[in-house]
Point group: C2
Chain length 256, copies 2
């Protein structure tokens, strides 16, 4: 464990509030009672926290409980908008989705996790296994692997260490050695592939978007049914389109 174990003197009151918010996040609404059973704090303590959260506008009182307000959505959307990659990638993602007919994602890395910050569906898009804002293990996505391929070695190591390589399908890379080989293969072609590694019947391809130092700041990926994403389209056509869009975005980022 080389990872930092956090601040020496955390603000425990704030930690409690975060626990409450994360509890509410999972459910449509919760009663005070439910929270007292889930959290090791006195009923009155949680109640007072909730009152404060209501006062600040982040929690709403419903007929039979409490839920998070859409002020959380406002914060999230603003945070996304503040990302350099988002604004320049958005329209290009849209057009690529139209061209390919498949789901196109813009993904960034955060705390060692892959986070889709924007997605656009094409004409034929099927239900996908990720959604905006979700934090997904890097090695399970084409975009995540593409980013890993262009991160400093020590970062890659610490990410693997921190969140081990969980298997979700037969094809998921769960061995560090295999992953390292995969990453150098990705660097060769500049494209990462996902062949049913995140879910059955689903394929994906992604390319990193890099800064002036050649370090990944995100990735663009296309995902869809394995049945459609195969053959030359998958291994040649899509990569070409992805490399083009990534290059365009890189240029936009440099000169804006």
């Amino acid at each position: 464990m080389t990872a930092d174990s956090g601040p020496s003197r955390p603000v425990t009151t704030l930690e409690k509030a975060v626990e409450i918010v994360e509890l509410l996040k999972g459910e449509d609404e919760l009663e005070l009672r439910d929270m007292t059973t889930e959290l090791p704090y006195a009923k009155s303590t949680i109640h007072r926290h909730l009152e404060t959260l209501i006062d600040t506008g982040y929690v709403l009182r419903t007929e039979r409980g409490y839920r998070l307000s859409l002020k959380t959505l406002d914060v999230g959307i603003q945070t996304r908008r503040n990302h350099a990659l988002y604004s320049v990638a958005k329209e290009r993602v849209d057009t690529l989705a139209k061209e390919t007919g498949e789901k196109v994602w813009c993904v960034i890395e955060e705390n060692g996790m892959a986070v889709p910050i924007y997605g656009h569906s094409g004409e034929n898009t099927v239900q996908s296994n990720v959604s905006v804002g979700e934090h997904v293990p890097m090695h399970q996505m084409a975009a995540g692997k593409a980013i890993l391929a262009y991160l400093p070695d020590d970062r890659v190591e610490s990410i693997i260490e921190q969140h081990s390589l969980a298997k979700v399908t037969e094809n998921t890379i769960s061995d560090p050695e295999t992953l390292y080989e995969e990453l150098s293969r990705i660097r060769e072609k500049e494209v990462a592939f996902n062949r049913e590694e995140s879910g059955y019947r689903l394929h994906g391809a992604g390319t990193a978007v890099r800064n002036e130092e050649d370090v990944a700041i995100g990735a663009i990926s296309v995902s869809g049914p394995a049945r459609r994403l195969q053959g030359e389209l998958f291994s040649e056509e899509l990569p070409r389109q992805l490399l083009e869009i990534a290059s365009d975005i890189e240029i936009d980022l440099l000169y804006s």
Copy 2:
């Protein structure tokens, strides 16, 4: 002032944390120094809060400061997904945007404010003056007025009292009497119109989505350039489409 002035004994530590988050929300990134000048707390206090927020994953340390992480986006998106209206309205909004070629919104009310929770652009959509998650005064939007028209009188009164009727253009309704007249007119036609009331050159039309007790739980609206949204299309065709979609959504909500 009939509004509650908040809890008698708020958790001030939590309030401080919220202030920090809201400060970060506005900017791409902030240094600790900036925050000490903006907030009346000791440098070490803010520092300790930030450390805790980093530990929980909601704040990231950048090269030269701090910013909110995309965990906030995750929370916001989840909150939206938990909304009953969102999931049923989404696809219908998409199709209406395709049909009309204009921007279509799904809006709900929260704390007396109109909040667009989902928007889909059509073929000809122009840049709009609101975005997802933003909290907008009810009287400035077609959707907001449509919702107000189907809220209990006392709620409407308290909303007007709480957030007064700010003018943003010549046409914005800023007088309560005029607004009440407008609301009864909306109830007659079941459709609300916005004629350059939220921004110049922009028109909009919206209809409320109501529950079994005929109380608004949200609204669907179409907005676009005044030049296009006019004449019979604006006053007849769009309202017909909106009423249909709203009715469909109401049925979906009742039987699901």
